[in-house]
């Protein structure tokens, strides 16, 4: 993907993140995810109905990479079944760890395809995925 386009997608998702709001609704499962090495700290809320993710929201403070990555993840995961979501998270994890991955399935999340080159940013991009894993891995 073109570098300028990647930058535009990241900044757009940072400035106007998808579903960034606090949730006070018991029908959502909640997980906190934070970077021990830096200051990102997010709460992720997931609503699941009949094995399908019907909504995800998030709230907290995080950098441009974490925030945009969360927004893009949310756009990609809503509507997926649990096993599809697990597969998606797995592919993303492969990408940020510089392992072979199926780029077709990641959609806009490929904007982080080169993030492995900035070691201190890998955790930022992966932050929401660490959060969602806490929820869906236990289902």
């Amino acid at each position: 993907m073109d570098e300028e386009l990647k930058r535009a997608i990241i900044l757009d998702n940072y400035s106007n993140p998808m579903n960034k709001r606090e949730v006070n609704d018991d029908s959502y499962l909640k997980a906190n995810t934070n970077n021990e090495s830096c200051i990102d700290n997010l709460d992720i809320y997931v609503k699941i109905e009949d094995d399908k993710i019907v909504d995800i929201c998030f709230n907290g403070e995080a950098c441009a990479i974490s925030t945009s990555s969360t927004s893009i993840m949310i756009k990609n995961l809503i509507g997926k079944t649990i096993s599809e979501a697990k597969e998606y998270v797995n592919i993303f994890e492969h990408m940020v760890n510089e392992e072979p991955y199926d780029e077709e399935k990641l959609n806009d999340a490929v904007v982080y395809e080169d993030i492995y080159k900035q070691k201190n940013r890998v955790k930022c991009a992966f932050l929401p995925y660490a959060g969602i894993k806490k929820i869906i891995d236990n289902l």
Binding site: I10, I39, C63, A64
Partner: protein
């Protein structure tokens, strides 16, 4: 000032994170290399030549520290692993045995975790009460606000001499006067002050003072706990072992050495102590008063330039230490730090271990610049110029 003394400054780097740790002058590094390559023996153990050299150097640092902070005796100088270690020793070796349920400890929310968590843990253990002094409009601790939280149950006031984000110099002398009139002990965290301005424990009349070597141009892993001799005599070792015992038998009868050895169990950080001694000699040569004045002028220069940028919000326009915390409107602190790093400028983003300060300033994370005497106005110009174009920051922060 004295930039050529610092090997780290030979590279293309602007280092504005001196509150986290300072660079070490070559004399400090050399003294430690010398120890490891020329007389690498244990201290206080051998009867052979190189061991005696080590003993001399180790104890000579104690003398240097004593004079550096104007303590009354070398018995009052205990080598620790750093400020954190010192405060924990005071909390768990002294106050643990004299405080009772309901006794009160006064702290400030602007202080570092190392001067809060040991007290919180002790409070949980002994059912003590922690009271946080209100900060004034500049987030300073004032004598009046301390008076407001004093009560007949107050037993300890523990404060940083200078804080690591706000950078205010606390009125320790006045606080000690008031405290001692009311039989209250005062503990000082001097981590951020001792390398930047003169410390005189006798003039302050402070009871305990802890600091680290690595924030005063010395090595990491070494620090000092000062305590008035009569108080250190009552401080129970939180660590027991070699070097600090006189005799012991199989009936658990233990007899300990006298101060200061009694509180230095195990083989100490000998290289670190020797390096710390060199750092003190180095600072004495430059003169801490000159350092304070130079750093103060640097801070003024930085504030004068930063304040002209309308999208920059400075948390501490006022401040006694050369520490400035700020945010760029609409840009997360860490992203600003990452942007500056692309130009080899080292600043800290985050809560700077003052996790309670957000309750007061309503800002969780900031970018922090903490200056040292080897920083220059030219470096500040480069830094401020890079912050003078908000679009550029957004363009390049990813």
């Amino acid at each position: 000032m004295n930039r050529n003394d610092f090997p780290m400054l030979n590279q293309d780097i602007i280092y504005f994170d001196n509150g986290a740790t300072t660079f070490k002058p070559k004399v400090v590094i050399d003294s430690m290399v010398d120890y490891y390559s020329k007389h690498s023996a244990n201290a206080h153990r051998g009867d052979y030549h190189i061991s005696m050299i080590v003993d001399d150097k180790y104890e000579n640092t104690r003398e240097l520290v004593k004079n550096f902070i104007n303590a009354n005796s070398t018995k009052e100088i205990i080598f620790t692993s750093g400020t954190t270690d010192g405060i924990n020793m005071v909390a768990n070796g002294f106050f643990k045995y004299i405080l009772n349920p309901g006794d009160e400890i006064i702290l400030s929310k602007a202080d570092h975790a190392s001067n809060i968590l040991p007290w919180q843990a002790l409070a949980n253990e002994l059912n003590l009460v922690i009271k946080y002094v209100d900060l004034d409009d500049h987030n300073y601790v004032t004598v009046d606000n301390i008076k407001k939280v004093l009560s007949p149950r107050t037993k300890v006031i523990s404060l940083a001499i200078i804080t690591n984000v706000i950078g205010d110099l606390r009125p320790i002398k006045e606080l000690c006067d008031i405290a001692h009139q009311n039989n209250i002990y005062v503990v000082g965290d001097a981590a951020q002050s001792v390398g930047h301005r003169k410390t005189d424990v006798q003039a302050l009349d402070i009871d305990f003072l802890a600091f680290s070597g690595h924030k005063m141009y010395g090595p990491t892993g070494v620090g000092v706990l000062y305590g008035k001799e009569e108080l250190l005599e009552r401080l129970r070792p939180t660590s027991l072992g070699g070097g600090m015992n006189e005799t012991f038998d199989d009936q658990n009868n233990i007899s300990l050495k006298s101060l200061p050895s009694r509180l230095e169990a195990g083989t100490p950080n000998i290289a670190g102590v020797i390096g710390l001694g060199e750092a003190i000699k180095y600072l004495n040569k430059i003169d801490l008063n000159k350092i304070s004045e130079y750093e103060h002028n640097l801070r003024e220069y930085l504030i004068d330039r930063l304040i002209k940028i309308d999208y920059i919000d400075i948390i501490n326009i006022e401040g006694d230490a050369a520490t400035v915390a700020f945010n760029v409107d609409g840009i997360f602190a860490q992203d600003v730090a990452v942007y500056l790093d692309k130009y080899n400028i080292c600043v800290r983003a985050g809560n700077h271990c003052t996790k309670l300060l957000k309750d007061v300033i309503n800002v969780r994370n900031t970018v922090r610049v903490s200056l040292a005497f080897y920083n220059t106005t030219e470096e500040i110009d480069t830094f401020v110029d890079l912050l003078s174009d908000r679009d550029k920051i957004i363009r390049e922060m990813l």
